[in-house]
Symmetry: C2
């Protein structure tokens, strides 16, 4: 992959940074955050401003351009990718390494005295604004909002904001009606004595109204805001999407309703002025609840004294705990997904030795098999189909320039998932279609031990996920190996494949405690730059555990794998496993055989079934 | 132990809270924090204001008294003790439990509108002031500094502030002279572009000048502040302690010195006015470095724009990494300490069956044996000598009312340590002098597994201690057991037995990464209310580890136990151990036998030596 040449673009950006047409005063630095106005992780093409200016299109990264410098902050998943995609105009700032300066420290070190640093107030989250602004001010600089997005001014062929039709989800999928969700939300608002709640995250709007969209690739969301009062519901959304009779029926737009459930539909662009009007009309002690990650622009619309900011909104927390309709849907989705992967791996086993399967062909084939399954909507993220050295690029996506042919000599890593109407999947398997080396098997087995250590962990109710992260690393650490990413993230129910407020990572501390019904991924890995990548990922459901002493009735939790795809036994060095770990693998494979085997049978996929039976033969450990 | 009756005291306190003699305006609530003006954990009797007003004398707790209520916040170590020591005037707020309100939330819920909340500005750390003040203000209340401490106004027989002689430590103990420490500090100051550094923590003053004191029981510190400029050194200290020729010689007070190493000695009480003078004389860009835990009073002396606040000071961080003189001293101290404990346990084994040994007698005997060792100074904390149900009170200290007789039917837990001139010790052993039940052995063995999991852990350089906490709990969690305290704390070198900035606890996140040379405790436990307590604690040194793949030259770390006291094998259910754990115990006991055995031999303590040999017989695991 060759880097994007950005010399001309940076020149143009530096010009508009000084142009009175766009800025009141020249800005000496301009920040280009990763997100959109909803602080989404995955964004629409029109919002890919950081990728446009730098060439680096990973899912996380912040660019800062000064008159002399251009720098990109990203995390361990993307060090290699960013280095490949950016030209020499850019300095890569490797977050998480000891010597890497923070954005604030770096700015202070390079800016001339009394500088102005510009940023789009709709894109920067309020909490980041606050931190950045404080740090800059204490060094004599100013963070200033630049109303017009400066990237947009130089992005001549910027695509339009998408506005696709909506999908309505009935009770059989959601378990709870949108009316009941509003009632529950208002009761949380009453508890905290707030009058208004502003829904800014796209997945929160979608979840609240039991609607889905396709405005953002891989994420079944649509561009909208909502403002919920104790007696009013305002939905800010563009296009003719509210003309769809199914949507009107679903939202009861034409029914005679109690006024507190009557939804007022307003233009997407009117959110700021509506919020300003609400802010201007507040009496003392009347509060408006926002996420502290809402944009600076919307947060500022409410005078400071009236703001009630929390790191996690009540919707975010409610959404994370799946009800029985949702978990049953997730189970169904994972069974279908496993069927598709059994087909794929069976096909790969036959085709790879012929030398005709590239990373892109394999990814397309995976999508093809998935799309044959009921209620398939789209992929849940860009398939990471990588072989050999490409596997070490943690969030690699094959493109023609890098597309490698699978062979019997290299490890193949496939991290993929789909959106089904009943659930979201995300699974990684690492396979070898020839004979893996002893070292590859050794590394794979340590990763597997870490995967099992998390999956089989038992922990008291109230434990936060970050406390489990080291379990995934212990076997690797013992041999001097590690991986530079977290171990797990929350997974939505036919929603974003990454969601808060829970996860399993050494990097967070403010995660909410794990609760029965939450769904997270368990995905330790090991990456050898220039050689191979290994990752084993299941999506797991938090469930109550049975323990001998039950924490004096505090209760305990553990995980149940929803993903049921064989883990390649050829890659396992059985003698590095304990008997308990060996039993875990065998029990897991027995369950794959029973549950996925029955579905393969039902779907008449006999060859894939034979593959499954073969791949789930019990391991036997030398005593 | 009967609770302190506080009805009359609270009445008096509520009177002075309204008295114009002490407060400009009446305060509706008064906060009594735990610490002293130096934010010490262990405090002098004159600073035990919270214990005076409430009766609760644990090492951590904050009291808040309003016109109607009196409430005490403390953590899991002290729930039982606080409940025992306080009368019905007090509500116990159990920190760490889900439903316990924060102090701020509780105040907001009980205070009438527009209340004033008072606190002594010398006692409250600046970071706490800020958080509390912000929360109160947003609810319409005010946090106000009350100059005269209101507890002192009603504490008629308050003891005097101690002012004891100093001990000088030469290079053989400290490894680095105070001059070199000043040079290193000034280079850190230059790096951060600060002109002044204010030393507020007592152990930091002591460490910086290679002096020790005995103003606070168990902590070899003395009441003093220091202010270090780029060319000046000011030491704020009272009494005639600077008249001691040894001290004058050590600090070179009478020598002709380069001016930048000339120490100006000033009265302890003049720190505030000196700081105010410094603050008033600063030019723009001139900064003063303080801990963000320094008192609100001292922090306020420096105008906000000139403050440079950090959670850990450069002294705190330098002090934590022990040099070779210090680690050698710590090794010597731990050998002597182990000799004393071998004598004690041998004595207990003979005496306990007679039914004449109480918790207090056992604690006194431990002190007696320790005091026979070279360079013994004092204990490093109040000995926790507890048997049966008293063992479940995590920071129990035997007093005549609770003093229980050791017997062959109950578990005995001894958590004790000493200050030697060459090092500080802290060790817990849990013993049974009869026949432990299967359940007691089971619990003990889980705790031991957790202890070993931390002690034997290998982890990459740069890992923070809190990431190791779950290793200590995993075996307990598997059976539905847990303990409500952290797993380890930093330990000073002939200094405070608890010190930052490292530790091993699920409760912290802002700890500094572990580095070779740091010293922490490893002390998981299990407590069964009303029955028994189990804890196994060693002090361990962070050392480089050898691993197969060495984290791509990032390097790795592990722990070496400094404590070398047998772990009672009678309490171990060997069949619950893995072979690796069993080997760990046997290797550890082999080292105890070699190192402590040689010293017992040298000291002619033959009976204790025989006890040691007996107690370090290898475990044999059924295959």
């Amino acid at each position: 992959m060759s880097p994007k040449i950005t010399t001309e673009l940076l020149k143009q950006l530096r010009q508009v940074m000084k142009s009175p047409k766009y800025v009141q005063e020249p800005v000496q630095a301009y920040i280009v955050p990763s997100g959109d106005a909803h602080q989404s992780e995955y964004i629409a093409p029109c919002d890919c401003r950081r990728a446009f200016i730098s060439g680096f299109d990973g899912s996380a990264g912040t660019a800062i351009v000064t008159e002399q410098h251009a720098a990109m902050w990203t995390d361990g998943r993307y060090f290699l990718q960013a280095a490949h995609q950016m030209d020499n105009n850019w300095t890569l700032m490797k977050m998480g390494l000891k010597d890497t300066p923070t954005q604030e420290d770096w700015l202070v070190s390079v800016l001339p005295e009394g500088s102005k640093v510009g940023v789009d107030p709709f894109i920067i989250p309020a909490d980041q604004w606050k931190r950045m602004s404080k740090a800059l001010r204490s060094a004599g600089h100013d963070l200033v909002p630049v109303k017009e997005n400066l990237i947009d001014t130089i992005w001549t062929d910027c695509p339009q904001r998408p506005c696709k039709p909506l999908i309505t989800l009935d009770l059989s999928y959601t378990g709870v009606s949108w009316r009941d969700k509003i009632v529950a939300l208002r009761s949380k608002m009453a508890e905290r004595k707030v009058l208004w709640f502003v829904v800014t995250a796209l997945d929160e709007v979608a979840w609240l109204f039991n609607l889905r969209g396709s405005d953002v690739e891989y994420n079944p969301v649509f561009f909208a805001y909502a403002v919920i009062g104790m007696n009013t519901i305002r939905l800010f959304i563009d296009g003719d999407r509210m003309m769809d009779p199914a949507v009107r029926e679903h939202l009861q737009l034409d029914s005679t309703l109690e006024p507190e459930f009557k939804i007022q539909v307003m233009p997407y662009g009117s959110i700021l002025s509506e919020l300003q009007a609400i802010g201007a009309g507040l009496s003392p002690k009347e509060k408006v609840w926002l996420s502290d990650k809402a944009s600076y622009a919307l947060t500022e619309a409410i005078p400071k004294a009236y703001r009630y900011l929390t790191p996690y909104t009540p919707i975010c927390i409610a959404k994370a705990v799946k009800n029985s309709s949702e978990t049953e849907g997730m189970r169904r989705a994972h069974i279908k997904d496993a069927v598709a992967l059994c087909e794929l791996f069976n096909w790969l086993e036959k085709e790879v030795p012929k030398g005709t399967v590239t990373e892109i062909i394999a990814a397309d084939k995976a999508e093809e098999f998935r799309s044959q399954q009921k209620d398939f909507v789209e992929l849940s993220f860009a398939t990471i189909s990588s072989t050999g050295p490409n596997g070490a690029i943690i969030h690699y996506k094959p493109v023609p320039e890098t597309n490698r042919t699978l062979s019997v000599n290299e490890i193949y890593l496939l991290d993929s998932g789909a959106q089904y109407k009943d659930g979201t999947t995300d699974v990684t398997r690492t396979m070898h279609f020839g004979t893996p080396s002893a070292y590859e098997k050794e590394c794979f087995t340590y990763v597997l031990k870490g995967h099992i250590a998390v999956s089989a962990a038992i922990f008291p109710n109230g434990t936060k996920g970050h406390l489990l992260d080291s379990f995934a690393r212990s076997a690797l650490w013992d041999c001097g190996l590690d991986y530079l990413h977290g171990t797990g993230h929350g997974v939505g129910s036919f929603l974003n494949v990454h969601e808060g407020p829970c996860g399993i990572s050494y990097k967070t501390f403010a995660d909410e405690p794990l609760e029965a019904g939450m769904i997270v991924s368990d995905e330790p890995g090991y990456y050898e730059d220039g050689s191979f990548g290994i990752r084993i990922e299941n999506v797991v459901l938090v469930i109550p555990a049975e323990t001998k002493y039950n924490f004096k009735n505090r209760g305990s939790l553990t995980f149940e794998p929803l993903t049921l795809v064989p883990i390649q036994t050829k890659m396992i060095d059985v003698n590095l496993l304990t008997q308990k770990e060996c039993d875990w693998v065998n029990d897991y494979h027995q369950k794959c055989r029973e549950v996925i085997g029955a579905e393969l049978e039902r779907q008449g996929r006999h060859e894939a079934l034979r593959w499954l039976i073969r791949e789930t033969e019990p391991l036997i450990r030398a005593q």
